[in-house]
């Protein structure tokens, strides 16, 4: 299709708690992606950076900060922020530049250095107008509080169990143990997960994703440019950065309340269900065409919500897929073969890009130890605070 761009190269800096400047991870990931593509830095015409808001001014101008570290080459630049969806914002920025014909070669990069422990609001002082500050102040509503609410809701509505949620972690940790870029190289047992300390009931420590340092990058090009380098490029067939439609009746982090549907009826589909739908539409594909998925498992239970939201299962049936082994390696539709955020932890501007890296490695058959056999097409899903949907459909050309 005419509106595809090629992913000629992918690269990461391993995720962990390294305590170094985020630019180092970004540069390492960018160089790895360029090496993978066989493209020189001097040939990159556009740099799209995912911003990090916890690293001062260089974080807000991440595209330029990383381009400067690579040595300014006169490329155009853009930096994007959409919380956890920042990476897809950057991907779509670069993709649009290529599809508009403004450039042929674009580098997309996201990297972060994170503090230890809970994410807290950025900046100091009393900020009575900032809902992200107020939710901590008035409710003590940490991110795991929202994850716990969603998980308990599944238990009440669908009969999911604590063991189901723990099995998600077990499944993903087996993949993470085979992924050299993942932070946690350990495959956890069900007992280990279920005996870890309770954080936000019913979720335990090992079911909640950590905050990590790390980086991820893509080298995107026009299809014409890609064909001069390879006969079979992997392509982005669809990418969605959509917002909700009012009223969003799902209680979203960091809100105090869902939108009221008393005067305006709730849209169908709802926000979460609509996110991948747009990427599917652009790709001319549907959930039944997918061979694998990388979804936003901030908590183990949240993976099940996303399996349903991207259409791989009907509402309430994701745990059934899990129990049948369908979402594991060798199953019908493997989910989070990278190990997911449970194995990586959150490096906010990098994580949506990292999801795409994994799909590319899988489609090329380069995911040793966690390979989804015959993978040809996959989808990512992600969500940033304050209404940032994120989904990318990637396929073999």
């Amino acid at each position: 299709m005419a509106d595809e761009v090629a992913i000629l190269g992918v690269g990461m800096h391993p995720w962990g708690k390294w305590g170094r400047n985020f630019v180092e991870y970004g540069v390492a990931a960018a160089r790895a992606a360029m090496r993978d593509a066989g493209v020189e830095w001097r040939d990159v015409q556009f740099v799209a950076g995912g911003e990090t808001i916890r690293n001062g001014y260089p974080g807000f101008v991440a595209g330029a900060a990383i381009a400067s570290a690579l040595g300014f080459n006169g490329a155009e630049v853009g930096s994007s922020y959409g919380a956890c969806a920042s990476g897809t914002q950057a991907i779509n920025l670069a993709r649009a530049q290529i599809l508009a014909g403004f450039c042929d070669v674009a580098l997309v990069v996201g990297a972060d250095t994170t503090p230890k422990g809970f994410f807290a609001p950025t900046g100091g002082g009393d900020r009575q107008q900032d809902p992200d500050w107020l939710r901590f102040r008035l409710l003590g509503a940490t991110n795991p509080v929202y994850f716990g609410l969603y998980a308990r809701r599944r238990m009440a509505l669908f009969g999911d169990t604590e063991q189901d949620f723990a099995m998600v972690k077990v499944k993903n940790s087996q993949c993470g143990a085979q992924n050299p870029n993942a932070r946690y190289p350990k495959a956890f047992s069900l007992d280990e997960v279920l005996s870890s300390p309770m954080v936000s009931d019913p979720l335990r420590l090992l079911q909640i994703c950590a905050t990590s340092d790390g980086g991820a990058a893509l080298l995107l090009t026009s299809l014409d440019y890609a064909r001069r380098h390879t006969s079979n490029p992997v392509v982005i067939a669809g990418a969605s950065t959509r917002t909700p439609r009012y009223p969003n009746t799902h209680l979203e982090m960091p809100d105090f309340a869902s939108d009221s549907a008393s005067k305006v009826a709730a849209p169908d589909p709802g926000f979460r269900d609509s996110i991948a739908q747009r990427a599917y539409e652009q790709a001319g594909l549907g959930p039944g065409d997918m061979d694998l998925a990388e979804v936003y498992d901030l908590s183990s239970a949240l993976e099940l919500d996303w399996v349903e939201a991207i259409g791989l299962a009907k509402p309430g049936e994701a745990a059934g897929l899990l129990r049948a082994g369908d979402t594991g390696i060798g199953g019908r539709i493997p989910v989070n073969p990278s190990g997911g955020l449970g194995a990586f932890g959150e490096a906010i501007p990098a994580q949506a890009i990292a999801q795409v890296c994994e799909l590319v490695w899988q489609i090329r058959g380069q995911a040793a130890g966690r390979q989804v056999e015959g993978a040809r097409v996959g989808v990512t899903a992600n969500l940033g605070l304050f209404g940032h949907g994120s989904s990318v459909v990637v396929r073999a050309h």
Binding site: G117, F118, A120, P121, D126, Q129, P131, W133, L134, R135, F136, R137, L138, L139, G140, A141, T142, P144, V145, F147, G148, L149, Y150, A151, R152, R153, M155, A156, L157, P197, M198, V199, S200, D201, P202, L203, R245, Y246, P247, T249, L251, D255, F256, A257, S258, D259, S260, A261, S262, K263, V264
Partner: protein, 143 residues
């Protein structure tokens, strides 16, 4: 010396024997919002900037609940040391067709909570300093 009762979120709820949350209702399209600090109507079909105070139902059904077993980071202020775990509830209001979060009073045991049960709005201490007892709304099981 008794401390001054001070609302931690002025204008968001009332401190009275039958407390209520205070929403904001758009004067043009009647769409309802909580928290009430609205400058613009968020209904995309409406461009109004005028709102009226609108008390919300003080009863609802427990949509879901969870706990903070570890102290949240600042700006949260724990009401007591050492930190005591507490529950957080999401309550669905039938008439308003919305779900609203709130803490659950420390005295309520986790085992007492069940999705679907009736909850009511109460006012309780968020934390105190030398002069003030800061108050917040909470969701409590109907007894």
């Amino acid at each position: 010396m008794s401390k001054t009762r001070t609302l931690a979120a002025p204008g968001w709820f009332t401190d009275q024997p039958q407390p209520t949350l205070l929403g904001a209702r758009c004067k043009a399209c009647h769409a309802l919002f909580f928290p009430p600090n609205q400058s613009f109507c968020r209904n995309p079909e409406c461009a109004s900037t005028e709102f009226e105070e609108w008390p919300l139902s003080r009863n609802g059904r427990l949509w879901s609940y969870t706990t903070n077993n570890y102290a949240p980071p600042a700006p949260f202020v724990a009401p007591s040391e050492p930190f005591e775990p507490f529950a957080v509830a999401a309550v669905e209001l039938e008439a308003e067709k919305m779900v609203v979060l709130g803490q659950v009073p420390r005295a309520t045991k986790l085992e007492a909570l069940e999705v679907g049960m009736k909850m009511e709005l109460v006012v309780d201490t968020l934390f105190s300093d030398e002069e003030n007892e800061y108050l917040i709304w909470k969701w409590s099981p109907v007894t």
